[in-house]
């Protein structure tokens, strides 16, 4: 009972990139504005879900060869490692710091270690969401 919807697929191709860009923006905006690891992750995940919905799993799996379970592992590890990093420097687990650095062309940019932690959150959310959805849809 496969539905082949040309319009949906064409629109999806474009919209997915918009959503991805939005997710990317939200993720980095999170520090100072609405957004963050969770939201960015969920947006990215919904973009991917949209792809899977409009195409079929096999096609997308070939196009995006990511094992989402591995992504969960990567996410959790990244977050854990940022936490352990602060221990190694003699601070309590998961302490974060930030610094303002001058970059050529871009000007002054704030670099915060919590962004690394948020990357872990992002990966875990994307991996977790897609693992859940794909597991169910594979089990027909």
């Amino acid at each position: 009972m496969k539905v082949n919807d040309v319009i949906l697929q064409t629109v999806t191709k474009i919209v997915v990139f918009i959503i991805f860009t939005f997710a990317f923006y939200l993720f980095f905006a999170g520090h100072h504005d609405t957004g963050g690891g969770f939201i960015g992750g969920l947006m990215a995940a919904s973009a991917l879900v949209l792809l899977y919905l409009s195409y079929d799993i096999d096609t997308i799996s070939k196009a995006i060869p990511i094992n989402y379970r591995t992504l969960i592992g990567v996410g959790v590890s990244v977050s854990t490692l940022t936490g352990i990093g602060s221990i190694l420097l003699g601070y309590p687990f998961l302490s974060h710091t930030f610094e303002y650095v001058d970059f050529p062309f871009f000007g002054e940019i704030e670099l915060a270690t919590s962004v690394l932690f948020e990357f872990g959150v992002l990966f875990t959310v994307v991996g977790g969401t897609l693992t859940i959805i794909l597991s169910i849809s594979e089990d027909v």
């Binding site: 999170g30 504005d33 963050g36 969960i72 919590s114 962004v115």
Partner: protein, 806 residues
């Protein structure tokens, strides 16, 4: 952290290594590795002996939960150290013995030694801890390890029964003890035993004194198998014999004795303590010795004899506690503290002779295949070394010279005679009972000691009734009981070595006012023709006569009325409780989740709602409320509508879509309520959730028979409960608005830009201030996702596997 702390945890740490050693060196008996532990502990703790002989003690402390006054405090004094030496010393011998007793090929040795190490560490913890809570923890750990060791051969029904019985009785006592500890803490405000002893006067005058004392003694009596709690010990004999020798005669059962001794300075000197401890001990003494005579199983005989001897030590501690009634320096102190001296002396002696007897019985069992005295006999010529050891042990137990049991038995008689002359605590009337009971019990002790040797080693050899061809045990099995047998003799000839280094420091711990009164006293086995000697002679004479005529009166035991068999009480009590709890559980555990939820909801309504109305907490603040505009009213109506639709609809699809609408409305509310982050998250989540729901429904086959419809009628009862919960929450939400009990901590997060370099406070909290929450949260997501994957995928693989097999 001190070395003594390390000694306590060493067995526990080593236990972790045992399974690895067992795997890594399959050709070497694991026991050889384990042996190192008690030897090291014994060697180290022995270095404290000279210090104690000088009357000093040592105290080391590791803070554990200082806030609750719970610290891992180790107190090394005479009482604790000698117990610790007995534990490690006998432990070492038992491990050597077990190496030959337990076959490397057949037995699960790693389990055995892990349990054994667990026990050893726990027992050392019991005798060396000063903090009562720590003591209690170790105390329960000994019960658990004892349970595991009794059930070591768990394939046998009897082992499981015995283990359960021991566990139930000792843990019951443990709980009672915990209650007592808490009462003592309430009275004195401390968990430290030393500080409790220092406040003994306060304790004794308090209203809770009697309950605290009774509960504490309940703990001690259950552990030390005192009447009527002794019934677990004979069944505990299902354990391997090294365990019976170690836990159930030399160490664990003496934990109760230890406890009574340890708390004597706190509770002693009062008539209640004196009477209860003395007479429970005396009754146990005579009950155990009477029952031991009729036993046919060698270990059963030893079990009852252990009960009886524990009773003896217990009663001596009770009599000795009278010394605390007198002022320090009074003559009464020395007179009655003498009983304590006898108690600790007999405690050590009992560990030596009973340990060796258990080991000999284990040898007989091991080499002949039976412990039934009706089948045994005439082993003297076949097993000469075992026979010699049995004679040494038995005669010491019977209280004959030249063995250590003689001296302590004489001292026991002296103690009873002193107690009989006591003119306090109403003793003038009943005092005479004590020596008489003691003497009668001694006669029966003599009889069963003779039975043990005679039935096993003398008489007729019946090889046809034995499972194996009897022969002498290997050397390794004989060495440990021989060492103990040697000690039995050595202590008789040189009692003052042990007297100076062990007994006097112990007495000083139990009766502080008696410290030093025995400095000039030397223990000797000859006091001239004193009443005690005549008592012993009469014991031997009557004992021999009764033994010779044993067959004529042994039948009397069959006339014991049924109600006197305490085991029946236990069995009926246990099965009655099981039936009762079955009934209660069957009544409310229906198997319907709905029922359980109803219990939960009704409880919430009753407790939360009840306290809400009883405290009259309802308040409705109407000032300072936020405004409402039309948009919000519309949203609220949509929310109400979709909620009602979820409840009312019969179509699954409608329900799912309604929940989706609900989620989006909540997201819109988030926007109104100044929470942009939440709104975004909620929108994204709701989208994915609806996709998830639809995915599941898409794959779900149509329900058979019931079609699309859920076929559920409106249930008024459920709705009333739901309405109750809902209105309760509404009332709470309304009331909460009016309260401002504490200053909000949110102001701290207002500085997020300076503290975390982030302008978005919510995000700063998530990623920085409270990153640990987020950290664990992504773990939840990870686990849930992997759980989903496993649920789906594992079944697919299983199905694939069965396909192949077909």
């Amino acid at each position: 952290m001190s070395w003594v702390h390390l000694m306590i945890v060493l067995p526990l740490l080593f236990a972790v290594l045992i399974p690895l050693l067992y795997k890594a060196f399959p050709r070497i008996h694991t026991g050889w590795f384990v042996l190192v532990v008690p030897v090291v502990i014994f060697g180290y703790l022995a270095t404290y002996l000279p210090m104690l002989a000088n009357g000093e003690t040592a105290l080391y402390e590791i803070p554990w939960i200082p806030y609750l006054d719970i610290n891992f405090t180790v107190f090394v004094d005479g009482l604790g150290l000698i117990f610790a030496l007995i534990i490690s010393g006998i432990g070492a011998l038992v491990i050597i013995y077990s190496i030959y007793y337990l076959s490397k090929a057949r037995e699960a040795l790693h389990n055995f030694y892990v349990y054994l190490m667990m026990f050893m560490g726990a027992m050392l913890g019991v005798v060396l801890s000063d903090n009562m809570i720590v003591l209690y923890l170790f105390w329960e750990l000994t019960s658990i390890s004892s349970f595991l060791l009794i059930a070591y051969w768990y394939q046998r029904k009897q082992s499981r029964f015995g283990a359960q019985k021991a566990m139930l009785i000792t843990v019951l006592g443990g709980f009672a003890m915990l209650a007592s500890i808490i009462m003592i803490h309430n009275i004195t405000g401390t968990f430290s035993i030393r500080e409790v002893i220092a406040q003994s006067d306060l304790l004794v005058q308090h209203d809770l004194f009697l309950p605290a004392m009774l509960l504490l003694l309940l703990g001690a009596f259950t552990k030390s198998a005192q009447f009527p709690f002794h019934i677990w010990l004979p069944d505990a004999m299902e354990a391997p014999t090294p365990i019976s020798a170690y836990l159930h005669s030399a160490t664990m059962v003496k934990a109760g004795i230890y406890l009574v001794a340890r708390f004597t300075p706190a509770f002693g000197g009062t008539p209640e303590w004196f009477w209860i401890v003395t007479f429970v001990g005396l009754f146990t003494l005579i009950w155990g010795s009477l029952n031991a005579v009729k036993q046919r199983d060698l270990k059963g005989l030893l079990a009852f004899s252990t009960i009886s001897q524990l009773g003896l030590i217990m009663s001596l501690l009770g009599m000795g506690s009278a010394a605390l009634y007198f002022n320090p320096g009074d003559q009464g102190v020395q007179l009655h503290a003498y009983a304590v001296l006898a108690a600790v002396f007999h405690l050590i002696n009992h560990s030596t002779f009973k340990g060796s007897l258990f080991m000999v019985v284990g040898i007989v069992d091991h080499e002949t295949g039976t412990r039934d005295m009706r089948k045994l006999g005439g082993l003297m010529t076949i097993m000469p070394v075992s026979f010699t050891l049995a004679v040494i042990g038995s005669l010491s137990m019977a209280g004959l010279p030249p063995f250590n049991g003689f001296i302590s038995k004489e001292m026991f008689f002296t103690g009873t005679l002193n107690a009989a002359n006591l003119d306090i605590f109403n003793m003038a009337t009943y005092g005479a009972i004590i020596p008489i009971v003691a003497w009668v019990a001694s006669v029966f002790t003599f009889i069963y000691s003779i039975i043990l040797v005679y039935r096993t080693f003398l008489g007729k050899y019946q090889p046809e009734r034995l499972e194996k061809k009897a022969h002498e045990a290997p050397l390794g099995m004989l060495i440990p009981p021989s060492i103990l047998g040697f000690l039995v003799l050595a202590i008789f000839f040189f009692p003052n070595v042990i007297g100076d280094y062990a007994l006097k420091p112990m007495v000083a711990s139990i009766i502080p006012s008696a410290a030093g009164v025995f400095d000039d006293y030397t223990i000797s086995w000859w006091h001239g023709f004193v009443p005690e000697l005549f008592m012993t002679m009469a014991v031997v004479a009557l004992g021999l006569i009764l033994f010779a005529t044993l067959n004529r009166w042994i039948g009397l035991y069959n006339h014991m009325p049924q109600w006197m068999h305490l085991n029946n009480w236990f069995k009926h009590g246990l099965s009655g409780m099981e039936r009762g709890s079955h009934k209660v559980i069957d009544w409310h555990m229906t198997g319907y989740i709905r029922d359980y939820l109803m219990y939960i909801f009704i409880t919430i309504i009753l407790i939360v709602g009840g306290s809400y109305f009883m405290l009259n907490d309802f308040t409705l603040y109407t000032d300072n409320l936020a405004s409402i505009n039309l948009f919000e009213i519309v949203l609220a109506l949509v929310l109400l509508g979709s909620t009602v639709l979820v409840m009312a609809t019969r179509s699954r699809l409608t329900a799912v879509v309604s929940v989706g609408v609900l989620g989006y409305v909540v997201a819109l509310f988030f926007i109104i309520l100044r929470a942009p982050d939440l709104a975004l998250t909620q929108l994204a989540i709701e989208t994915v959730s609806v996709a998830l729901y639809l995915l599941c429904f898409y794959h779900l086959p149509k329900l058979k028979g019931r079609g699309e419809e859920e076929g559920e009628k409106f249930k008024v009862g459920n709705f009333i409960i739901a309405l109750g919960i809902g209105s309760l929450v509404t009332l709470l939400a309304l009331s909460v608005n009016g309260y401002n009990l504490f200053e909000p901590i949110s102001t701290y997060y207002g500085d997020s830009y300076d503290l975390a370099g982030a302008a978005n406070m919510v995000n700063a909290i998530l990623a920085d201030f409270r990153a640990f929450d987020t950290f664990l949260e992504i773990f939840v997501v990870a686990i849930a996702a992997l759980g989903v994957y496993a649920l789906v995928r594992l079944r697919l693989e299983k199905r694939g596997g069965t396909d192949e097999s077909q």
